[in-house]
């Protein structure tokens, strides 16, 4: 342990010059019926002019609270209980009301997390850009403001800005909305820009382009950036300095590369070890070393590849009729001539960005939607040609685990009934036997059996996904369809669930179809990869081949977009 490290003044202060932002021992709490619940416990950090600092943490670490506290945007019950926030010499913690209007937008810009909900749906884009310019005294109403608004949008990377001004947020894609929000945040040339998970709602390729653009803009204008993210790789790639937060405290801070390559605090070490985007580079070593390093993937893939396929998809196509709003509907091909097969006991990853059709493939395989054409063969039978009892028997062999941990379990069923539902549906065993099986399954997914009479809302996201996995395993299926099953989880929990899945696979000889948008995770679990784009599979190969020598331009783009790929860990 390197606990010998002298606790230098938190957040340092040894750089030359005066810091732009200097937070000292900040405490923030939320007022509840049971008194004040602390959210930040003595956070200190500094940002120099023009510097980019990233705060990294899991959900609940207090990273967003810190960002909101700086510009007095804490939700109603949030209060700064002590500490100082010195910005350019002024204590923001002691500033409030109208005085703050001159700082927000003008001196400190803000780019929010979710582009979908951060533009007012009832006003057009031009209005929302223009009111910002007027409020911050950057333009007067009239022609002047329109011209400036066009400049703002053009700078933000929206080409046809004149037309865009008159459009409404719902006519924009997520990436375009985020460009508008970045434009608004930077429109007054602030000294500091706070970007709160600015791209986590976007596809990786879009994320990369937008962050590159943001870096150029802030670099040109010398704007300092406080970047909030849950992604260690992304943070290290985008910021000079990292601040790692855990449970309302800063556990480690310092130069980005050094923290990644030489993490000191056990929590940071955990994070570095679990971050899939970083780990995927480490996996480049020998298989044995990789297994020893993170205990995630036991090396069994090689021996399985030769097995016969348990599931074969051939020329699968799904056409939806889309309503155009003009009394007519249009065909839309969501899945276009998709073919693949998965050998027994292996994992195939189906990777694609939003709208690629990957989740539709899952629904077609599970026969939750009917295919327009093509076939899905499971255990030698085409699922589209069976019904009744035979279909029920096929369903037993193949079970799904879905993305949303908060939607995957019926909130009114307790855990016992949830896991027993497959057994009841398929009339397996007596009541007593079913109870025993439920206990066994809870044990298998490493949850205490005392949870049996609990309801899903009492559990965390990761625990719910364990329950969902237990339910999927109840009928002893051969195939699990994992549709973004770990995408909504924090990295550490994600790593746990991935480890559980790999363990179960080797134990029960399961076959996985692993559907994800996150190429980084693929490296950890998949034997084969199929990359989907606009309903088609553009590249399919073994995982190593896809990562080491991608053939398609799109695959290369996806790989390059994994945050933190360029970072060499000291391995």
């Amino acid at each position: 342990m390197t606990a010998t490290t002298v606790a230098t003044t938190p957040g340092t202060g040894r750089d030359k010059g005066t810091p732009l932002l200097d937070i000292r021992d900040l405490h923030v709490g939320f007022v509840t019926q049971n008194g004040i619940v602390p959210a930040l416990n003595g956070v200190s950090l500094t940002i120099m002019p023009g510097e980019t600092v990233a705060i990294v943490g899991e959900s609940g670490s207090g990273k967003s609270t810190a960002a909101h506290a700086i510009i007095d945007l804490l939700p109603g019950t949030g209060k700064v209980t002590s500490g100082r926030i010195l910005f350019d010499g002024q204590d923001l913690a002691a500033t409030s009301g109208k005085a703050f209007d001159k700082i927000r937008g003008n001196l400190i810009g803000f780019v929010p997390q979710d582009p979908m909900s951060n533009l007012n749906p009832v006003w057009n884009i031009g209005f929302q850009v223009e009111e910002t310019l007027v409020a911050n005294g950057r333009a007067k109403r009239g022609k002047d403001v329109k011209a400036k608004a066009i400049t703002v949008l053009k700078e933000a990377g929206l080409a046809d800005a004149e037309i865009r001004l008159k459009q409404y947020p719902h006519q924009f894609s997520g990436g375009m909305k985020q460009r508008v929000l970045i434009g608004i945040g930077l429109s007054s040339r602030p000294k500091l820009l706070i970007a709160d998970e600015p791209t986590s709602a976007l596809d990786v390729t879009v994320q990369r382009v937008i962050l590159d653009h943001l870096a150029t803009l802030t670099g040109d204008s010398g704007t300092a950036v406080l970047f909030i993210t849950h992604d260690l790789g992304l943070a290290a790639e985008r910021a000079e300095k990292l601040v790692v937060m855990y449970k309302g405290k800063i556990v480690e801070s310092g130069p980005s590369l050094e923290i990644l390559q030489n993490p000191q605090h056990p929590y940071t070490k955990r994070l570095v070890a679990a971050a899939p985007s970083l780990a995927s580079r480490r996996i480049q070593g020998s298989h044995r070393e990789r297994a020893a390093l993170d205990q995630v993937v036991p090396d069994a893939a090689a021996s399985r590849v030769t097995a016969a396929p348990v599931i074969t998809v051939e020329k699968l196509t799904k056409v939806f009729q889309i309503n155009t709003g003009k009394l007519r509907s249009q065909p839309f091909t969501a899945v276009d001539d998709v073919s693949f097969s998965i050998p027994k006991g292996t994992t195939m990853a189906l990777v694609g960005e939003s709208g690629s059709g990957k989740s539709t493939v899952a629904k077609l395989i599970l026969k939750l939607e009917s295919a327009t054409s093509g076939s899905v063969t499971v255990g030698g039978k085409d699922i589209n040609k069976v019904s009744g009892r035979e279909l029920l028997a096929l369903r037993r062999q193949m079970q799904p685990v879905f993305q949303d941990p908060f939607g995957s379990l019926d909130p009114l069923y307790n855990i016992g009934s949830t896991i027993a539902e497959p057994l009841v549906t398929h009339r397996v065993g007596s009541k007593k036997e079913r109870h025993a099986r439920v206990l066994e399954l809870l044990d298998q997914v490493a949850l205490p059996t005392t949870l049996i009479d609990r309801y899903p809302n009492e559990l965390s996201g990761g625990q719910r996904q364990r329950i969902a996995i237990a339910r999927a395993l109840a009928l002893k299926p051969e195939i699990l369809i994992l549709d973004e099953a770990v995408s909504a989880l924090d990295v550490l929990v994600q790593a746990q669930i991935l480890a559980l899945l790999t363990e179960l696979q080797s134990e029960l000889d399961l076959t996985y179809l692993f559907i994800t948008h996150d190429l980084a995770v693929v490296r950890l679990v998949a034997d084969h990869v199929s990359v989907m784009r606009q309903g088609r599979i553009v590249e399919a190969s073994s995982t190593d081949e896809v990562f080491d020598s991608p053939r398609e331009e799109y695959t290369k783009e996806l790989l390059a977009a994994i945050p933190g790929t360029g970072i060499q860990l000291g391995v």
């Binding site: 390197t2 606990a3 490290t5 606790a7 230098t8 003044t9 938190p10 340092t12 040894r14 855990y246 449970k247 405290k249 800063i250 556990v251 480690e252 801070s253 310092g254 130069p255 050094e258 923290i259 030489n262 000191q264 605090h265 056990p266 929590y267 955990r270 026969k367 939750l368 369903r395 037993r396 193949m398 079970q399 799904p400 879905f402 939607g407 995957s408 019926d410 909130p411 009114l412 307790n414 497959p422 549906t425 398929h426 949850l447 949870l451 609990r454 309801y455 899903p456 809302n457 009492e458 559990l459 965390s460 625990q463 969902a468 339910r471 999927a472 929990v493 746990q496 000291g570 391995v571």
Partner: protein, 317 residues
């Protein structure tokens, strides 16, 4: 790992004892199992408003079931000699113009209001749930057809529809049941719409897809997963709708087209007292108070239920 490399001077590490690590994703559960309905029940029992409205609702029910517990007087024993007389011993609220005892008439009128309220609510809820559930869950042409039918029924405000029905129906056919049918037959579309909307948002949940992937039948999924998760707002509007039905009955009785002459009703009493508004306003005010308090108790109960069942409403409190 080369953890022995010298750290840069700006590298800060918090002492471990300040932020002890907790096992990743540790299981922590509260003392009692909780889900939406258990939570709602606990929440309601903490609210004074629940007891206030509950007591009045109970009182209304008891009065309706056993009116003779509250008065020994015969509300039909009217004598013109008592016409418009003020309160006296045994007659706390005085007499109507026809010389009937106001208090006794209010007590006996309770049953009418509650009966209509309950019959209408049953009718509306049954039709509303069936139509709303079918159109929301099965979608496609079933939804198209049922929603259009709902639109048509919704286009005729239910009190207006009841006015037409009661104006046309033969006098001798008038009864509490017919009046309730007349109100209820046009009041269901709002229940159906609320349920349909709720089902549309629930039916795409992952847990519904998981059940379908298990091979659970559509109807069973609707019954066991979708309906229980969609019914909360229906409970709320049903309670408030009961109040609406009581108002509708009173309005129609007030217009003189609701009930046969021998049935007592607050609306009728109010109607008969209107001519004496200047001289003897209290004969109008007393039944009005009874009516308003009964309505208020159901509306309050609806509000308490909404606050308990809708997490968004709970946050708004």
């Amino acid at each position: 790992m080369p953890s022995n490399a010298p750290l840069s001077p700006t590298h800060f590490v918090a002492p471990l004892d300040e932020t002890p690590l907790v096992a990743v994703d540790k299981v922590q559960v509260a003392a009692k199992p909780s889900n939406l309905y258990l939570d709602a029940w606990r929440d309601m029992r903490r609210r004074p408003l629940f007891y206030v409205s509950g007591v009045i609702v109970l009182l209304v029910i008891v009065v309706a079931l056993f009116p003779t517990l509250f008065t020994q007087l015969d509300p039909r024993a009217c004598a013109l000699s008592f016409s418009n007389q003020g309160p006296s011993a045994g007659h706390p609220l005085g007499y109507t113009k026809q010389g009937c005892d106001v208090y006794a008439r209010i007590i006996f009128g309770t049953r009418t209001s509650l009966s209509v309220g309950i019959i209408v609510t049953l009718l509306v809820t049954v039709i509303g749930i069936i139509i709303g559930a079918l159109s929301g869950y099965y979608g496609r042409w079933i939804d198209a057809v049922l929603s259009r039918i709902g639109d048509i029924f919704f286009a005729i405000p239910y009190i207006l529809a009841a006015i037409v029905i009661m104006s046309v129906v033969a006098r001798e056919a008038r009864s509490i049941l017919v009046l309730s049918l007349a109100i209820g037959i046009f009041a269901w579309p709002s229940t159906a719409r609320v349920l349909r909307g709720q089902i549309l948002s629930v039916k795409n949940s992952d847990f519904v897809m998981s059940a379908a992937a298990l091979g659970v039948s559509h109807f069973r999924i609707l019954l066991r997963h979708v309906l229980p998760n969609s019914i909360a707002p229906v409970i709320v509007i049903t309670t408030i709708g009961l109040a609406g039905a009581i108002v509708a009955e009173a309005t129609l009785s007030f217009l003189g087209i609701g009930l046969p002459p021998d049935v007592m009703s607050w609306g009728k009493d109010i109607s008969q007292a209107q001519g004496d508004l200047r001289n003897n306003p209290m004969t109008l005010i007393y039944p009005s108070i009874a009516l308003s308090v009964a309505v208020l108790s159901f509306i309050l109960m609806g509000e308490v239920l909404r606050d308990a069942l809708d997490p968004k409403a709970r946050a708004r409190r």
